[in-house]
Point group: D2
Chain length 365, copies 4
Amino acid sequence: MNEALDHTTVVHAMQPDDTPELRELYRGFEEQSLLPLWTQLGDLMPIHPKSKAVPHVWRWSKLLPLAQRSGELVPVGRGGERRAIGLGNPGLAPHAYVSPTMWAAIQYLGPREVAPEHRHSQNAFRFVVEGEGVWTVVNGDPVRMSRGDLLLTPGGNWHGHQNVTDQPMAWIDGLDMPFGQQMDVGFFEFGPDQLTCLDTPEYSRGERLWCYPGLRPLSQLKDTVNSPIGAYRWQYTDAALSQQLALEAEGYPATVATGHAAIRYVNPTTGGDVMPTIRAEFHRLREGTQTETRRDVGSTVFQVFDGRGAVVMNGETHSLERGDMFVVPSWISWSLQAETRFDLFRFSDAPIMEKLNFMRTEIEV
Amino acid sequence: MNEALDHTTVVHAMQPDDTPELRELYRGFEEQSLLPLWTQLGDLMPIHPKSKAVPHVWRWSKLLPLAQRSGELVPVGRGGERRAIGLGNPGLAPHAYVSPTMWAAIQYLGPREVAPEHRHSQNAFRFVVEGEGVWTVVNGDPVRMSRGDLLLTPGGNWHGHQNVTDQPMAWIDGLDMPFGQQMDVGFFEFGPDQLTCLDTPEYSRGERLWCYPGLRPLSQLKDTVNSPIGAYRWQYTDAALSQQLALEAEGYPATVATGHAAIRYVNPTTGGDVMPTIRAEFHRLREGTQTETRRDVGSTVFQVFDGRGAVVMNGETHSLERGDMFVVPSWISWSLQAETRFDLFRFSDAPIMEKLNFMRTEIEV
Amino acid sequence: MNEALDHTTVVHAMQPDDTPELRELYRGFEEQSLLPLWTQLGDLMPIHPKSKAVPHVWRWSKLLPLAQRSGELVPVGRGGERRAIGLGNPGLAPHAYVSPTMWAAIQYLGPREVAPEHRHSQNAFRFVVEGEGVWTVVNGDPVRMSRGDLLLTPGGNWHGHQNVTDQPMAWIDGLDMPFGQQMDVGFFEFGPDQLTCLDTPEYSRGERLWCYPGLRPLSQLKDTVNSPIGAYRWQYTDAALSQQLALEAEGYPATVATGHAAIRYVNPTTGGDVMPTIRAEFHRLREGTQTETRRDVGSTVFQVFDGRGAVVMNGETHSLERGDMFVVPSWISWSLQAETRFDLFRFSDAPIMEKLNFMRTEIEV
Amino acid sequence: MNEALDHTTVVHAMQPDDTPELRELYRGFEEQSLLPLWTQLGDLMPIHPKSKAVPHVWRWSKLLPLAQRSGELVPVGRGGERRAIGLGNPGLAPHAYVSPTMWAAIQYLGPREVAPEHRHSQNAFRFVVEGEGVWTVVNGDPVRMSRGDLLLTPGGNWHGHQNVTDQPMAWIDGLDMPFGQQMDVGFFEFGPDQLTCLDTPEYSRGERLWCYPGLRPLSQLKDTVNSPIGAYRWQYTDAALSQQLALEAEGYPATVATGHAAIRYVNPTTGGDVMPTIRAEFHRLREGTQTETRRDVGSTVFQVFDGRGAVVMNGETHSLERGDMFVVPSWISWSLQAETRFDLFRFSDAPIMEKLNFMRTEIEV
């Protein structure tokens, strides 16, 4: 193999002399909608992924007041559809992309407000870092939203939201919209302006059918691409993480690494990811734990759910508090540090990278 | 197609004339360990499955006293290994097969008794119709056994049992031993005479890792052939069935058929059957419900868990009470009738039939 | 683990004393169709597979004359259906089973004879060690049978045969009938007495659609359980094996082991076995090659296609010539020795063992 | 559902009044790297895919002379790596993307020239519309390139090319580079400047191992993500298509639609697509045939291999001759018309769309 070759230098070295003939050739290319590889190779085929997206942290202390102010100034309703404020990766401006594949936002619903129903090809979830009082109605099934819950609205499912209280509520949304926009996959349909079901049950029908460990309704034997579980409740996530750390303390293998408990939210019909493009996980670090430094193909977003700590991205340390969000673009090194017990929700585009055989990981030793 | 052809008549009609030459030919066959198809076709290739196994009911009121009496007369320990009394299908004597694929038994453990550890290729489960006080230790993980629980000991897992109380306990065992014996697949190893772990925790370590709906430990991402859940607890089974009937009452699809709730126990890493050869389910019928009459390839065994009702097999009605067990051999028609609310545990060899493409079902209309 | 425990001795040691009470208990068992595990454990759960089937060799020099004599004495037609003479494993008498799962036979069709159409759940193939002139018609598609060809008639496919020449023809049949008979899975239907198509094309329609390496008809994108290829022609098998040995000679990895080329016949829609229960392979050994000694769960049958050599089963050497057939039952050790270049067709029940997670192999070192 | 709602109008209608307070809010968004959904929804979530890519035709009569001229003016070698001229979709300028996922180019290698070895994550293939004399060396295995052949160099495989004749040769390349660049997945490594193998065999070692219909080397039982077949030869493609039309003429189902034969190139270890992101097919239309008008999610590129005809894209007809290439972006309607017998090579990103559950097709009736 070739030592120390670098595209930039090599490509420059190799460009043909700038002659009138070459310029004429290049004009010919232009007229015929052609572009030579030899002038563009470094961009098209980098030595390793070099994302235009940059590592970035958004502070909950800034996000929430802006969302609240939007609640005063911007109506929610048909057309705008959602009062959602997207995290725009500074490297991807002017697009509202948190990464090349993912969109992340804070959504805000005032007292008694309703976000009308619609559906789209893009896969979506909501995660609740604080508050309560909103029900999201997915294909007619009302799902309560409470702190720590993960709620799914997979591609093709009708959904709208209503706040049944006199208090506003904010949460985060995650979607694969940037992937969809760039890859031209999206369909969108408006639904009724009013929700199809105004009930506010404690548990959705999907949960009542599906949320028993290892039990599958005999009426639902066909595997589904998306998880049939509309809400992954905090009580289970919390218990699962606590038990992993307890088992570790008792001397049994249960955690990902010492002091590091984690679960993946999965589709119970397959054991795989909840939706075809989005992976969702929850991580808990014991106080004082530091994770390995790693880099992965694909991008990931975290939100701090509880505790204090820091993330180191590309060697730079960012302290973190409840609600703070950050993005790790493709092949950027990262690790987490827990000052207190440290709880983080995480989502990523890993299913895309794995299904298309592009996943690759490097652990710093 | 040929109308009204029947193997018996046709085969007889077609046998060649019994001549000295033919007899000499047949002697030649015998000397060379050969058997002609034309004299055996009806047995080898019936028009539809005609099992030697017969439909049969075993009464708990008879089983339990015999098990108790065994407890007085027969020691449990190394060699005999288990005080288990197998249900012998009358059509399959002298084999202790409840069906051509399955073995079913009542197992009995007296106060403070221990069944020593061993392991084998055959897949096994236990289901508890009544009693408590025994822990089964699977690969060193003690699993409490209580009424309504399904416990797994898949092929290759070390396991033993101990009764930690002053009361005896009985339960049923199901294994794929007849399949294994006829198909020559079995390995067996003796383990220690004493259990590797004497703890009696409320929940096994497997449950603490795995029993949260839709949550997968990040440390356990590799799919497993067998379910990692050692115990499927009654509280979840009961709740799942109750919710199916409640949803049905509210007007939503949730049950298999009107008044008929059912769950399948599954491997959470795949959503499929708990073990490669055995399907396990639990069915609940509302009072007065009667199921469709159907026949399936493969055999199935039921145990009444609660309530009163009946099974109709091949047109014959058998009334049923708590603990009663029955077997439905391949292609025998059957339906259930619920006199009261009627709860039944069920297991079958359906995974074998499905994986090998032999499953076929006929519903009587 | 427990050293040197053997079921036989242990089980005997552990039997309870023969008392009047015990005898009464056993009578109770009998009345209730029950059989205790402790008296049967050694049979139900052997230390390793101990097949009743025995290793056995059938000589083509004996088989063929008996088949020819059958041609003179036994008509072929409706009822008997086929003039097929099954290889009966001496350990499985009186059943015509070559092994617990498989049936193997020599089939013989006289000049101008027709074997009428039928279909059944059981999976079948034919392999031609010599001769030509017969077409098998599978679902209306006539398939030429020639030396070295493997022909499939998977479960559920209508099929019949006709000899269009004035010479008789013999070939071998393989089916999963013993599995089907013991596991109660079989359905059988008679078809028309005459073949549905009397054409005798060089290549079947299935071959014309499917037999191009790596090319899939766009009209056939749905995967099928059974291979859509009706005939695997000798010219390809021979070329594939020759090229493996040539590549090996050139220094590239291509063979299973030095001097040992082999192909598996596969379903092109999945890359897996040709039928759900039967694996088919062809092996070629260079002159002087000896294979490793191994044992596997499941049974396998070989037929010598060309050359001379030997098989060692359980330490006993059997010399082999063209057409000779032998069976290796489950967990019997075996290896092959090639006196000349040595070509063998092979089939087995390995798909059953693999799908049900019972496969296990031991290589002698 | 909501009748006649259109994003453009609705979104405009719903924008909040432009007040100082709103402007201050938007400034706050900007400072915090946030972008509201309600000003961007139409772009992020269109009613149906609205690709920036446009339907476009490139003429071989223009491509080839420009490639030839490049051969005179531009060296091939380390750094530029390949003398490849990319088809730049006019809607995606300045990127050299033929579609959002795919890159397509004409590559040109002069007499005795060598394109040095390298490897990359991106998946690549070559298709030869005319010429011969080049061998591509893939992981050390030299593969002859001839008219009508499809050659694979899947992600991660080392590859280089050499022209061993005194004539230049041109062919087309297809890669998933645009997907890789936008989704940040790519790795690239330089290999030796000289090819690792200078042999020019008729058939590559991969072909000698794998190219027998339905036969799998026993030494290669592990399924691979990419096809192990390096070259899909024209002789097989041509024969497969001819036989489909012949079977159709004989009255049997074999073609996709009347007069329309087609094959998909597949991975023989799975029956699925040749590489994880790229589907490759070959279509043959009988003279006078017109295909249905359809639209699909995802983009596809065709090259005319032989004959004359036309493509209708979005209602506009483009006549086509040998070597002409065209792209159909996502959700653009298209159909083909055959003036003579009409042969076309085709590739697309359909595996991406199918694996991520975004595929959707509409047939005009």
